[in-house]
Subunit: 169 residues, 4 copies
């Protein structure tokens, strides 16, 4: 048995999620599925929904860790649901569950997950070209500790290839 | 897509886990895998390890939610690891993640998971015949509210059949 | 500066809370205040409310750790509110925050807190004479590990004296 | 009884904490104590330690919510310790416990707390003049939602006056 890599995809929930976010999130989901990795998301809308949709269309395996205590709040593309019952505190759980993180746009919630992943020194790749709360950190660091650099990527394929390379290294 | 049922199996960690616990936990894991359900455990030793072992030997899918923040502490039979970083507080997360719960022996940790599942009104089935912290509650209730009865079962097959029946109902 | 002892009082929420529960919980709160200790509760109704009421009537200091993410859900007798936003998972937080625990009646939620406190080897004293989910454990242990004995007491004064003695030991 | 305002102070832990951080954090603690508010911190070193020290020197009340499950890890200036046992996930608990937040420098951990407070729309005031992970957000917003503006202040007195004004409003 070779354990699947666990890739967390984070980004805008329904507010602030444009068709451009949805398209690339969907493609990231497809690529994660094609790589044989497990897709983890926050299980809700926007980027989380599109990415899980893409993964399911390529017969991937998807897991959603949601804020609520009832699995019915997860989007329809989650094979497995962890209803954390912890509200947005579940952002830390998402980060801890990741072998690596891919970022597609994102606001304050996404930034809290980036901070949590950074503190745990998880590899991170961010799609360039979105006007997001994460944009200032791409190809740079969250703080002076320089724990882990957030690597920029221009396409879904490049992002998934890079995160797998970083996880494997 | 038909979503897999999520069955949590709880019971003794390495302390207090006898070959009798291990045998029936292994069989419970096998039956869960054969039913096409997802096995969730606390990802550590004893009943959690044996049950995951049984599930993997039948090509099932297994997920472990562990107290530590590093996945390396999970047993080798976990396909997916959620390293919660929350210590034993993760017992509540286990319970919330379950569509139904099967209990094999168990001490205070297992009892806390039973309480959490009971408060969330999750169906529960317990294997009879173990001298455990759960024994007094089998075929009865945790408290005066009578939220959900803990159903007794004598074999692994009976336990899995019953929990699936209860989840489906 | 001598740090205050942190005493957690747990027991029935509004359901199952009788005038007898309220009376002794109120007295336990008074005694905790008189001892100069900090009273910690789950911040809601029933035993939590009465005990905090008693402590405030003796000018004690009270802290409530509530399941909700908004402090307005706490009872009016909490000086300090920790709105955990974690639902009933906050039962573990309560237990970890205690130097010692006093139990007045209680159902499944109280039992989960007892399990959490037991796993962390916190001293516990329970008021005798209630038909509760905790009654079977008074003057005994939660499981075979015999981590910590739950000591019985007949009055509020006796309970507070005993828990302070156990914390100090 | 008038409930104390609960003011969370966040900023650099021991790494990256300079005498300049310590001086202003100490003064912030003094001002919080003089205002009759409760000081909440993460209970560890650096800004958390200095601020609690200042509050105690003015006979204030201090509470530390720490990552560990054992209160002995808290600094000596915490009157009350909540040993969360949740690791850095406690950053969300800190934010939820605040009526308002004061920020003194800070790295990725502080930024995760800022995000959590922002998501919960808590008033925030940040001391200007530190080269920190928070600096880009002072007198601005964390994301496009414009939930709550992070107000800049130049002195401890100004910061505490402003946060109390914002909490009261």
């Amino acid at each position: 048995m070779v354990k699947k890599k666990q890739i967390l995809v984070i980004g805008n929930n329904t507010t602030g999620c444009t068709p451009k976010h949805e398209k690339i999130a969907y493609e990231v989901g497809q690529e994660i599925a094609k790589s044989g990795s497990l897709l983890i998301t926050g299980g809700l809308g926007g980027v989380m929904n599109s990415c899980s949709h893409g993964a399911k269309d390529e017969n991937g395996l998807t897991l959603g860790i949601i804020p609520q205590d009832d699995p019915k709040f997860a989007n329809e593309f989650c094979d497995i649901v962890i209803p954390s019952g912890m509200g947005f505190t579940r952002d830390f759980l998402n980060a801890l569950s990741a072998d690596g993180v891919i970022i597609v746009g994102g606001g304050s919630g996404t930034l809290s997950e980036v901070c949590a992943a950074y503190m745990s020194k998880k590899p991170m790749v961010a799609i360039r070209g979105f006007d997001s709360a994460i944009a200032p950190y791409i190809d740079g660091y969250v703080d002076h500790r320089k724990n882990v650099k957030i690597i920029g990527a221009d396409t879904a394929k490049e992002a998934v290839d890079k995160i797998i390379e970083l996880i494997t290294a």
